[in-house]
Subunit: 343 residues, 2 copies
């Protein structure tokens, strides 16, 4: 049987532990997997682009466990009452190819994306960072805020979104949790005085939510929303004046902010910062950019974390996804020997 | 909600209609989709190879519906009590990216593989074909036999397998269904006098289960088991003396029998035979080869068929795979507002 965490059980599981504790746990699993980055099989995700949006498959393997995520990205979905991003994922045993674990990942992707941002900011932002600007108050915004507070102690938020309802929703969700929130009048206003700037907008355009003049020395830019060809958020001049960290360069050069820069634009693979093979932040004045697009290994870490966490609980059920005939060569006997034939 | 056909319901559904009727229905859906081949988004499957076997993702889309299959191939599995091939698949709506249908595909892949062979043999084998040689009596063998009988009237089988238990299983399954079965003493003996030769062995080697001298004029060779780099079944000299038909050349050149031939080895895309854009069999003496590796569009057809067939029945259940908050931008409120935070 295959273990299955559906939406209901995912929400129960998150409710039981709390999103912040889960993201803290995810940071640990992510750091473990980023440190053994070179042992994973890696490939750019397989994307099917249409005018509506994109559907992607993101596989990876550590040669013991195989995992993949199905995920879509449809910027016009919220206006029609759908989620921008929905996802589910699978783990399988490499030795026999059997799927062992299936999970909803709409909620889990939100948690792992914020946990990844927090892991990177913990390594790259100035240690005294307290204030985060949020450009975009959509689905990711609260998760980013809780993860950054847990990992770095960031508890002052400066928020800007073109949709006042989204901003109101963020204030409604985060004020009771003790955040000090300023609703900004513009992106420029939000960014003023921030230590960390998180851009998480959903428009599928080469937008410029952040211009060069808005960036101050010492900032860490956590660029989440530019994750697709033709979908970026930063003035490319910011990249030229920063040190840019990425997950997996072959994918980021297609999908990230650096798609607006030449093929040989210098980047640092973030896993090398964790292993000590590359420097992270080297001065208090440096501007660091995490050009985040989301990589399969992060989903692998997240699926591993849920699988391990729900073991021996009732937060999963067993489903019958793999046929298991007594004689593995007798699939026909298993399904059809006594069925009508020729009808 | 997403509709889910698990193994139990798949077996019930197959039992209800009978595998032969289902394969006949599948041939219809396959022909429809092969005729509109050029309207599909196509890419070679994404394979993760290890010494144990392979795990693959096979996506495709007709721009209205997106589908993919997860499938493994582990030749050593049966010796350890596992299926060589297990699979499941998903259909999703392209307009919003939501997965709508999830199905087991271990059983379904067996049905669609045989239905595909039958569709091709119907177009390429001599119309008077009555006798099929089967080299390999594993999971595929009975499905191939039933599909070929349904579509072409082939009812005489000549079977050879190195595993006498597999042969005995085939006889046990097919004799009650009225097939005239000869258990051959060798591959050469099996092939003698056959109109159609189906090779469906599982060894992951460049084997030669069929040599040039075993092939007679007018035969149709249905080469199923060569479907992976380093896994072929035919003496390459057979290919030189035949007309070779394939599903999707970029994938078949990597995985099929023609991997043992130069990059520019001439092949005919089978869909063009159905649309009349390319000739099929042009003489009674011609040897035709279907170099079958299995392509994503066949799984798409199969998933469509099951989805349509189980509609308004109890052969599926609804599962909760996609989070659906009232406010699509308020995923945090959906999962975490009232959960403990900071713990």
């Amino acid at each position: 049987m295959t273990r299955f965490v559906d939406v209901h059980n995912m929400v129960r599981w998150v409710g039981h532990h709390g999103p912040t504790a889960i993201m803290a746990g995810l940071v640990g699993y992510l750091e473990d997997d980023f440190r053994r980055w070179s042992s994973f099989e890696k490939s750019p995700r397989v994307a099917s682009h249409t005018p509506y949006g994109v559907i992607e498959l993101m596989p990876t393997s550590d040669m013991e466990t195989y995992g993949f995520k199905y995920v879509n990205g449809h910027p016009s979905n919220p206006a029609r009452g759908f989620q921008t991003v929905t996802a589910f994922g699978v783990l399988a045993d490499v030795h026999n190819g059997y799927p062992t674990f299936l999970s909803e990942m709409t909620v889990l992707t939100a948690l792992r994306t914020a946990a990844t941002s927090a892991m990177v900011a913990k390594a790259l932002a100035r240690p005294d960072s307290r204030t985060m600007a949020l450009i975009g108050a959509g689905s990711q915004a609260e998760f980013q805020s809780c993860a950054m507070r847990e990992v770095l102690g960031v508890d002052r938020l400066r928020v800007w979104d073109t949709d006042p309802d989204a901003t109101a929703k963020l204030v409604r969700n985060l004020e009771p949790l003790g955040f000090d929130i300023t609703v900004a009048m513009s992106g420029k206003d939000a960014v003023a005085g921030a230590d960390i700037v998180t851009t998480c907008t959903a428009d599928k355009t080469n937008a410029t939510v952040l211009t060069r003049d808005m960036v101050s020395p010492g900032m860490h830019l956590n660029a989440i929303g530019g994750d697709c060809p033709g979908k970026t958020e930063l003035d490319p001049a910011i990249l030229d004046a920063s040190t840019v960290f990425v997950e997996y360069p072959p994918q980021t050069r297609i999908e990230g902010e650096i798609q607006n820069r030449p093929e040989d634009f210098p980047v640092t693979e973030f896993w090398k910062v964790l292993t000590g093979e590359a420097p992270g932040r080297t001065s208090d004045d440096q501007v660091t950019v995490f050009d985040s697009v989301g990589f399969a290994i992060e989903d692998f870490s997240a699926l591993r974390y849920v699988r391990d966490s729900v073991d021996a609980t009732d937060f999963y059920e067993d489903i019958d996804l793999v046929a298991n005939p007594d004689d593995p060569k007798d699939l026909f006997g298993f399904v059809g020997a006594f069925a009508p034939v020729g009808g």
